[in-house]
């Protein structure tokens, strides 16, 4: 739901390398995504999918290569970033307020992932799948042009998986970019699939 932004979203990574904790996690990786692209990331556990998402988000420094990202970002990773003691609606409202989303937009985003009935439930009492949906509702509500989703299908039932598919298609049609790290093969048309191999971890000097 990226609308009204003046610039076209773009993600460009050129021959990047990332070192985390003294280990080379990613190397010689390039990725180009333009407005309307969905990029599917695949790879075994520990192959660097989450690292790549955090790198695009600008949360990790590059060891070498070039990173250029144009457009606003939203991320849903394994960290929920919602207050466990607060109700789902109020926890989401903190971020909605920062993203400039209205209360009705938040209600729509929650309805898109079937969360309306859980609005008054404290986040601590939500199931794993419900928490995942809450993080996705925050991404949907953020109006960001670039979505970074880490294992978004984990814990989702069939109905919500297809709801996520629908939202990804709508996001891409409206000129957004989505980078999705998932173990399952894509059930929607994707612009590119990047397979990360669990490469031999070379100790960095």
């Amino acid at each position: 739901m990226a609308t009204g932004q003046a610039i076209d979203a773009a993600v460009q990574l050129d021959n990047i390398a990332v070192i985390r904790g003294g280990r080379l996690v990613l190397q010689q990786l390039s990725c180009h995504a333009l407005a309307g692209d969905i990029i599917w990331l695949r790879g075994a556990n520990g192959s660097g999918k989450s690292t790549l998402l955090r790198l695009i988000a600008g949360l990790l420094p590059l060891a070498s290569g070039k990173r250029e990202v144009a457009g606003s970002l939203a991320m849903a990773d394994e960290n929920l970033a919602l207050d466990y003691t607060n109700t789902l609606e109020k926890s989401l409202a903190l971020w909605a307020g920062m993203d400039g989303a209205s209360a009705s937009a938040q209600a729509d985003a929650m309805a898109a992932f079937d969360l309306s009935a859980l609005a008054e439930v404290p986040v601590a009492y939500l199931s794993a799948g419900q928490r995942k949906r809450a993080a996705l509702a925050r991404v949907l509500n953020s109006n960001a042009q670039i979505w970074l989703l880490d294992e978004p299908y984990n814990g989702l039932d069939n109905a919500n998986s297809s709801a996520l598919d629908d939202q990804l298609i709508r996001h891409a049609r409206s000129g957004g970019i989505a980078v999705v790290a998932a173990h399952r093969p894509p059930t929607i048309n994707v612009a590119d699939t990047i397979s990360l191999s669990a490469q031999t971890k070379i100790r960095a000097a």
Binding site: R54, A81, T85
Partner: protein, 215 residues
């Protein structure tokens, strides 16, 4: 930035819910309650030494909330989400410090009125104590958030936090306690100066610590 106010309110709410608000206050009042048992009910002695004890108690009470200031938000991904929205680490630290001043400093000031009654501090000394604490608490909050950012996630973070905070807070304690017997107001001016410097520097120090720990 519109999010600054909501983040600040969230800090106060987290302190209220998580017990971070009450623990330092109860500790502070406990010191004030126990002190007369140690010295005996000598009114003159209590009036002369009580203010200094309350300064020490305030400094030690500021150690208690350190562990919950940064670590929970880092683990929950709140800091990541703020960075993602273009918040600089310094700005996050400034919001945390402002929230901590309100969630820790203001209740401590109110508790000081009760504590000084328990110790039997004369009224004019209570006024001096309150002014001094009001000047020093922003610096203590800034130090607390900086040390929380430095030690978040380390083994023995709370012990290390105490080790770091005590020497850094010594100037505040010296000038703060000196304000109690300070007729021309020199100590008050020095306290204001050191507190301003610490408060102004702490968002940058804490921001640098947040950035260094992000990986």
């Amino acid at each position: 930035m519109s999010g600054f106010a909501s983040l600040l309110l969230r800090e106060i709410r987290t302190a209220w819910i998580g017990g971070g608000l009450w623990l330092p206050i109860i500790f502070y009042l406990a010191v004030a309650t126990l002190f007369p048992f140690v010295t005996g009910p000598d009114k003159a002695l209590l009036a002369a030494t009580g203010g200094g004890i309350l300064w020490i108690a305030a400094l030690l009470a500021s150690l208690l909330p350190i562990e919950r200031l940064i670590l929970p938000d880092r683990e929950a991904g709140v800091l990541d989400q703020l960075n993602l929205r273009g918040w600089s680490d310094e700005w996050i630290a400034a919001a945390k410090i402002a929230g901590h001043i309100l969630a820790f400093g203001v209740p401590l000031m109110l508790a000081s009125i009760i504590a000084s009654a328990l110790i039997g501090l004369p009224e004019e000394r209570l006024a001096t104590l309150l002014i001094g604490l009001a000047l020093a608490l922003p610096a203590l909050a800034g130090l607390g958030v900086t040390i929380a950012a430095l030690t978040a996630g380390l083994n023995g973070a709370s012990a290390l936090g105490g080790l770091l905070l005590v020497p850094l807070a010594v100037p505040i304690l010296i000038f703060g306690a000196a304000t109690l017997d300070d007729s021309p107001g020199n100590a008050m001016q020095l306290l204001l100066a050191i507190s301003l410097a610490m408060t102004a520097l702490s968002p940058f120090a804490a921001g640098a610590a947040l950035r260094a720990a992000r990986e």
